[in-house]
């Protein structure tokens, strides 16, 4: 079980990161992709959770994953 969970978790992380790159102007590089409490990716995740009225946890929780997997407009949600 742990292996599966770990893989799914990795996929989820990738999915959310891609979403933040596409629609929240997150720019991936070595350091910023680390999921530490104040890292850029956490800030972007909070922005996204706030835009969609989700609980702003800064964590890749189920509510966030649910939104990330929905079909949507290809234009970003924040002014680029």
């Amino acid at each position: 079980f742990p292996a599966n969970t770990r893989q799914t978790k990795e996929e989820d992380i990738q999915l959310i990161q891609k979403y933040l790159e596409n629609y929240y102007g997150f720019e991936k590089d070595g350091e910023s992709s680390v999921w530490k409490s104040n890292s850029p990716i956490i800030q972007k995740l909070k922005e996204m959770q706030e835009f969609f009225g989700l609980e702003v946890t800064g964590k890749p929780d189920s509510g966030t994953l649910d939104v990330v997997q929905k079909r949507r407009c290809g234009f970003p949600d924040i002014a680029g």
């Binding site: 835009f51 969609f52 009225g53 079909r71 949507r72 407009c73 290809g74 234009f75 949600d77």
Partner: protein, 380 residues
Amino acid sequence: FSTFAGEPKWAKQVLTYRIVNYTPDLRPADVNAAIKKALSVWSSVTPLRFIKKDRGDADIMISFAARDHNDFIPFDGPGGSLAHAYAPGKDFGGDAHFDEDETWTKSTEGTNLFYVAAHEFGHSLGLFHSKDPNALMYPVYRKFDPSVLPLHQDDISGIQYLYGPSPNTNNDQRESTEIKDPTESKDPALPSICDSNLTFDAVTTFRGEIMFFKDKHIWRKHPAVSTADFNLISSFWPLLPPGVDAAYEIPENDETVIFKDNEFWVVRGDTIVPGYPQKLYTLGFSKDIMKIDAAFHNINEGKTYYFIADKFWSYDKRSQSMDRKSLLIRDAFPGINGKIDAVFQYENFLYFFYGKKQFEFDLDKKRVTRFLKTNFWIPC
């Protein structure tokens, strides 16, 4: 709602659009209807009007493509990103791209083209995404009720912040649950070019085309093209009333003069020349003349002819004088007796319309050369 940074918006009210290519998921006619209906969602609450072009450049270029498609935002295959559009501006500005890897439908199954297009055209007009989950400009695609106008008050507030309200309907569009697509043939009020009893209000040449006015619509026909475009008059000139009386073109000035009751407008392309409408008498008519039936401008003579009942007046551009007295139509145009609905000149012939009939008149031979059906020029 929100706008793009710097609030880019179109400086004009009449915008052109062109469907550059079509998705194989739908019949072209369904794509045309979905796009037209999606644009009418926005024109129903603003002064904006949209004219379809079939060739050349347009303000809003609409295309279907998959993955990388020559802009910096490649699509991502089925699901995920469905489409995107650019803020108002030149080149890419206003353009809308739809992901061909989606299954485009005109129902609530798959991805409904009308609904996505209505959202994307919000971007093309200057709106950014909305946080209101009920708003059309919310970024996530949701199941929707096709019988209800998809605009939420948040969308209407946003678009009217940029362009103001529609000049001829109340601000709150929420009562209108159905978008009337002007090309819907179900609407009994729509004139049909195949109607053998068809009559026209006015006919004129217009920048190489011929324009046939009927109630609130116009047919536009280029002599070299087999098809004709069918538009609302308001999509060209939002402030012009329906049911015009007469129209003629002065090609050398690139002006077209359009009459309704005792007023007339001068238009150049899709713009009404400032200072119009003006009253009929300013052309030299007596003030008791309250409307004219038809008119044409003879470019060779430099004269403009105005028809009222069974008489006509002519204005000589060179001497800048209007006839003091009217003449009988049948004296100058033998075979044309009585009141006419419309007239226009094409090459060296005049075409007189009255009722269901059309008479071709040879200006050299000074006689009627052909009897034609009213809809002779436009394929049924």
